[in-house]
Symmetry: C3
Subunit: 407 residues, 3 copies
Amino acid sequence: MVKNTYMRWRLPLICLLWEIAMIILFGVFVRFDPEADAHWKEEWHQKNLTSDIENDFYFSFPGCPRDDLRGFWLPDDIPPALWLWSCWLQLPPCRLWDPVGSPDAGLVPFFREWKDTHWSGKVKDAGGSMTIHTFGAYFGLTVTRILYRPNLEQSKDKQGSVYHSDLFAMIGTLYLWMYWPSFNSAVSNHGDAQHRAAINTYCSLASCVLTTVAFSSLLQKKGKLDMVHIQNATLAGGVAVGTSAEMMLTPYGSLIVGFLCGIVSTAGFVYLMPFLESKLKIQDTCGIHNLHAMPGLIGGIVGAVTAAAATEEVYGKEGLISAFDFTGDYKDWTPTVQGGFQAAGIFVSLAMALAGGAIVGAILKLPFLGDPADENCFEDDVYWEVPEDEESGLYHMHDPTLKPVTS
Amino acid sequence: MVKNTYMRWRLPLICLLWEIAMIILFGVFVRFDPEADAHWKEEWHQKNLTSDIENDFYFSFPGCPRDDLRGFWLPDDIPPALWLWSCWLQLPPCRLWDPVGSPDAGLVPFFREWKDTHWSGKVKDAGGSMTIHTFGAYFGLTVTRILYRPNLEQSKDKQGSVYHSDLFAMIGTLYLWMYWPSFNSAVSNHGDAQHRAAINTYCSLASCVLTTVAFSSLLQKKGKLDMVHIQNATLAGGVAVGTSAEMMLTPYGSLIVGFLCGIVSTAGFVYLMPFLESKLKIQDTCGIHNLHAMPGLIGGIVGAVTAAAATEEVYGKEGLISAFDFTGDYKDWTPTVQGGFQAAGIFVSLAMALAGGAIVGAILKLPFLGDPADENCFEDDVYWEVPEDEESGLYHMHDPTLKPVTS
Amino acid sequence: MVKNTYMRWRLPLICLLWEIAMIILFGVFVRFDPEADAHWKEEWHQKNLTSDIENDFYFSFPGCPRDDLRGFWLPDDIPPALWLWSCWLQLPPCRLWDPVGSPDAGLVPFFREWKDTHWSGKVKDAGGSMTIHTFGAYFGLTVTRILYRPNLEQSKDKQGSVYHSDLFAMIGTLYLWMYWPSFNSAVSNHGDAQHRAAINTYCSLASCVLTTVAFSSLLQKKGKLDMVHIQNATLAGGVAVGTSAEMMLTPYGSLIVGFLCGIVSTAGFVYLMPFLESKLKIQDTCGIHNLHAMPGLIGGIVGAVTAAAATEEVYGKEGLISAFDFTGDYKDWTPTVQGGFQAAGIFVSLAMALAGGAIVGAILKLPFLGDPADENCFEDDVYWEVPEDEESGLYHMHDPTLKPVTS
């Protein structure tokens, strides 16, 4: 019996109905536990707690090895290592010197300098929607634009995903998904803010998975799921609450953000990436624009709106002061002012990214940096000793002159 | 010189002798450190500690991103995501819609509802031997029974393990092994109970590894180790102490539980799985019955016995009250009553699993859910966009018409 | 256009200049945050803190599942499991019984016994440069020497790295790199010492990555990077600060240690390994000597020097006592005495390793242990059930009689 396995309408329908039902149920029934609510500061006094570490969060939640670790060592040496690791992590080979393949490679020294000097303490961005994702992505895409290679087509066949590598990459996706709540909460204020940041991030990530699955199927004629979407767009929800996760975004608010971001990110892979390459001459081989740039912008906007909408009713008097650090020089700030500065932060991030990317792109064009010829891009053995093994066997196997014995 | 590498008797003998020696040594010499002993509550007062977080455990032990996080957000959105992830995690392809391959796929919404409503606080099950493993496994196996496909044989050749995937799966096993102590302790009472849960889980896991190795070799004529046993049965010890790990099971008690569970789980793969398929028409492609169902039942039983055997001498007066929450409405409960409720919990779990599985199985038989034809089960490309690369090359290679050139 | 991609001088030059600039900048500008400085004990009193857990470190840093967990369970059962896992983790197959491939396989029972009995509390070695790395590596290399097989050459072609396995192994490297700071700090004193240990370890690891890249390229005629160096030597920096990380090594001190260790470790792969095999008859198939033995010795020496150089000015009066446990029987010890004991510890580790390795090597030579013939070393299927799949296909493919159809 021939079965109908065409899921283009049925799968998205189920996913979206489910997700909408969840959002409604969460909106009606789910509130933050007192330990994750901004009112916790008041409870703190009532319960005579002596430390933020009494928050239930610290009894079982895993930490995250974030690069700044609340800034306890000023300029640190993690950046160069991260820079190198981020290159190695990306399988295609000519990345180390050819930022075409690695738009976020050069971000790190810039990032730290301007963030630490001009930024911290005024504009909230604990999960880095603006300072990490928006900045990093547009920085790298600018570099990519400058290093555009019109004739890269000839090595393009080496760029596609490979079955084993796709499975391999899913480990990375899973790991990132699991630890994103730790990442977004790592540098938040101690106590309820860290607790809340982890919950909001989980909600957004979970919601984003569902819409990614729905739209990955919906946007393709055959209605099949695409591993590249699943590997990337499922994480976009974590980026999109990077700024607001520590605020009182609420669980159902996070679900809505993740819901929308999954759609934007998946649609970006299907419609925007070809446009970026053909019209804007930006070769975004890893889909940075879909996982970091657009979700980062969404995150900045959501953060500005959430900050501007903060009220004493929702946060409590003391909670509001604590959440936005309305102390010292900033004791007269209001949520509206905070929201305005948050909005400004988006544009500052973008401006720094474009300027920094232009400078670094120009440097990387210098001839002594040993970039490969167009036909060698995406080849490991230009810069790496590669073992001669099955891989060569596999290529051999593709040899079209190797044919079944027919006689 | 021809060497004798037949290990069927020598390897198991060494492993079992070693393990028995360990159990004796642990029984004689090893006791819980005061920080992991139920008497810690009393020491707490003597040392004037102000918080459970003073327990040494919290200074270096990693947390675990458990789904409920002590229930601080009531119905949460993790379940749908977990549901999807658990599907993706399992490599064979037609899992998303065909629960034949994924017996635990549908458990999650059911699980939370009944656990949170009827259960929590009365029956102890911190590591989920009953509420996660027993329930989930029998739920899924019931679904599998209902969706039985007598003609699945024709796609069976696509189901076997693959060398690379076996290595790949070992990463998952290692990760689970390392974090199982965090998982089992995540929702235990703060302080000594969490500390103890981690230690007991480690002991059981370590012991289980040894008997798995011994019996994997012993139960096969060639005396060789089987990767499938190593990947699964080595974890069964963690399941089997899920209920009792937070109790005063003691390190050598945990070693004994792990010892027995490794035998049961490995023997299940060798003897019970073929029986389940041929006689009971349950196609347990992932060995859920051996890793979750049987160890979960063992865990429930061990938990009931350990609870019933609790005494003030072992736990201390205050420790006993704290360990089993004999406060408020339950202040007159005795360990015997607790043990009885624990035992009842096993049957409740089973009943809920069979009933829930039957309902979900019936729903999944509805024709609009797009299940694949028998011959397409275990094929990725029914529902996924698959890159055309080496994989297709490999299939091509298996083509029997491709033969060495002999002339 | 033909491009010049020969990086032998340009890549190392950039890496080394950058690293030297970092060291200078760190030396001039970077100091420990108060929470990571040994003076924290004094601040503790001023701030009326009630517990070491108030240190910022515990609010966001992930723990590490270390085997001893501050010794709270005396002889534990982790060692046998670790022993087995460490074998499985190493892909080449005949490891379980043939320690040629696994020099550190037998270390564990020895290690614990002598460390716990004769050592702890007097000589500081929180990250195990001496007691784990130096001891384990020379123990295993001694075993390897005794089990030397002059005719192993015939199976040597099965020993080389494989493209997929190289990617696979990089996951392990990344995981180890990320969690090494947690590992080195896990058993340090609570509070500032743990905090400091994590920072120093990060600095050393980061620095080591840069010199590894530089020298991997520099030491080869083609100037290409070698995956084996990257997988191993990048971690050597973590080993080399194992003893001193919890001391006031300072960030720039850690950078210098990592810098030197990356050179030593990479040069070891290129120059020393062939020498070990041809002259000393030690078949170090995994490069244990380069990742554990030499960096462990460096770590012991750095620890002795750092301890001997400790002053009240740098640590504070109370901090010095706390850092080296100059209390009770040791209240009259000075940093100089401590440094002397640290130095003695290196020789004790070496002596124990050589003696223990000799004994275990002799035991492993007993004929009933089922070691494989020379030509079967590095073959999985001697001891494992191996699926017949693509792998066999691949071997088949290499069959030289399979040739393109030319007629």
